[in-house]
Symmetry: C2
Subunit: 396 residues, 2 copies
């Protein structure tokens, strides 16, 4: 980087993975960074600044032109992960009474336009967005057509304080290409384009997947050993504690195991199959919450579905395991215990897989947050308890 | 639906979840469906047809205008989940020698234009795409400017047979808004827009998440009990078999357990913590493969990272568990066995979490395909084996 630093493209900084961007920016001479960021749209500058320390932010802000600095500082004043942080300030607007011809003449005369824009936003005199017209419609209409007669149906705006997750959901749901952002007074302050929304969607998926697995949400394949340990060890330590619950449960049945050691060999089957069932139910529920197909309104139906399918899966597995167990050990009582424990644990697993994320979501937490750890702890404990408890009653 | 069926909007059919779309289409009178699909762009018609039975496809194809039918049939001739299926045939092209004025006049005179378009694609006389111009550039340029002087940098095309996953990756990586599709001869046959690419990206994430959890990739929160059982039971049955491996391993150590029943209570701790570590490593690896940050080129480095961080996590957990175990059971030999087994299983887990998806990917399979089941089986078996094996050697 040092060798190549005379004149770096701002887009290069913008595309760098955040995990190395700070290092790169610190390694570059101030003047080079200043020159690089000056060409970027404000959303990209904000994106770069967000991850920097305050001193680094200052250095870059000072390098910007006055108007840009004000715009970036204002964007940074919005909450993290909000629409205000995501938007670019560069918008193409037209008064709502303009014609196609006036819009084209204005665009031809404009000194600087955003890198990418897909709509002209119509505003009233107080900068309140009233609708937008696609560039395709403008290009294919006659010069004397009034812009307000060719606006798109289903015009939507987002508030600058809306969470970026909601914005990404809206883009995906309504096939938006760009969306105006308004402040608390309903005035236009910026626009979010679909490439940014796609990026957010991608990041949210990444978070879901990593949180489900109990890894820090910023883990990446590029992390070093130390970052990897830092991201994973806390969850492993928590799991050490929760797994000890299983040990405590099993300890209560030491006499049973001492009387029939084969139980120790069989008990992980019930626990492990429960763990898989819980993970299955969990994945579908977390996905459903992310796409908003699972809501408090249909939660009861989904919970009932989970219980019933847990019961049916449990019955099928119980017949399989119970029969094989009875044959191998020549003891149909043992087969019955295996089967019954399997049914109980499958129902608990399916239920836990949907209730844990629903509960986390109701508490305002991310439904994926380490729910894998919770659910497998539940299925382990329940699997051992049901199996050893039934064995104590029916076999000993 | 039946009540409301006189005149349904094609977009409604297009937006319906595929799981109920077939039912809805069968419930509607033929004439209504025919009328509805006629207004759609070809990519949406293809999307609807893909999920229907051959007879249903025929009915809709017959309803289309001749030109549209040919276009849709041609799209269906491309492999499933390819760029050819995803693209729309409606493209806006201009000869490469045109000026801005000629393009605007052409667009104003055009009888029908696609619902959404963001670029005018320049082609040579043999319909080979040479570059594209954004509508923003056309609108902001003078009429006498030659289109070829204002084309975008970094022009890319995809082949109609490219997998849709590659296309979505390209859109995300290069911030594309639309991308021309060419046939084997390099001729323009259609265009893919970002909303379709975003959709693919979303579906791929869903697949990864569901496959990792061992659920059929088409599971959804809307499924009934029966579909849920069908999607989950096969993986549960497979897990029943793999979990029996653990039982076989434990059976080898029945004498050890009979001699010291506390071992039965402690062994799930080592196995469970290994399962979590494997899941963590797996999630990061599957994500890395999806974003193409993990490749065969850097696999060795990532594997080394996993082994080292597994070792460090193992050491930390070993100290914790070993100390507590020694104190509770008043036997430092037992603590040592717990600690050593933990280290072994953490290393195996981290390694398995990255090698299983890498292996699946090398075999041309989806790296997320039930890899969760494989990895937890591995960590269960290894956890029980290491713990009971060491206990047999050091305690009995």
């Amino acid at each position: 980087m040092a060798l190549w630093s005379d004149g770096i493209d701002g887009d290069v900084l913008s595309e760098l993975d955040w995990s190395i961007r700070e290092e790169v920016i610190e390694a570059l001479p101030e003047a080079v960074v200043a020159e690089a960021v000056r060409e970027l749209d404000t959303d990209d500058v904000v994106d770069i600044l967000e991850d920097l320390e305050p001193e680094g932010q200052e250095r870059i802000l000072e390098a910007l032109a006055d108007a840009d600095r004000v715009a970036v500082e204002q964007a940074l004043s919005y909450p993290e992960e909000s629409a205000g942080r995501l938007m670019q300030r560069e918008v193409v607007v037209a008064p709502e009474h303009w014609t196609v011809g006036e819009a084209i003449d204005f665009l031809r005369g404009a000194e600087s336009l955003p890198d990418q824009f897909y709509h002209v936003i119509l505003t009233d005199p107080r900068m309140k967005p009233m609708g937008y017209v696609t560039l395709g419609r403008i290009l294919s209409s006659r010069r004397d057509v009034a812009l307000r007669t060719i606006t798109e149906d289903g015009f939507r705006t987002v508030s600058a304080t809306d969470p970026e997750g909601n914005v990404a959901y809206m883009f995906n749901q309504y096939h938006l290409i760009s969306c105006p952002v308004v402040d608390a007074g309903g005035r236009l302050v910026g626009v979010i384009t679909i490439d940014d929304a796609m990026n957010v969607l991608d990041e949210e998926h990444e978070e879901d997947m990593l949180l489900l697995a109990g890894v820090g949400e910023e883990s990446s394949i590029a992390d070093g050993v130390w970052d990897t340990v830092k991201a994973r060890l806390p969850w492993l330590a928590i799991n050490l504690v929760t797994a000890s619950l299983s040990a405590v449960v099993i300890t209560q049945f030491e006499h049973t195991i001492a009387a029939l050691v084969a139980l120790a060999a069989l008990m992980p089957i019930v626990a492990s199959t429960g763990g898989i069932a819980g993970t299955q139910s969990l994945a579908v529920a977390v996905r459903g919450l992310a796409t908003r197909d699972l809501t408090q309104a249909n939660a009861a139906r989904v919970v009932r579905r989970e219980v019933l399918s847990g019961l049916m899966n449990g019955l099928a597995l119980a017949v399989l395991l119970g029969t094989v167990g009875s044959l191998i050990f020549g003891d149909w009582h043992l087969g019955l215990v295996l089967g019954l424990a399997m049914i109980v644990n499958q129902v608990v697993a399916s239920l836990g897989g949907v209730l844990v994320p629903l509960g986390l979501s109701k508490m305002g937490l991310d439904p994926a947050l380490a729910s894998g750890t919770f659910v497998t702890t539940l299925t382990d404990v329940m699997g051992f308890f049901a199996f050893l408890g039934l064995a104590t009653v029916m076999l000993i």
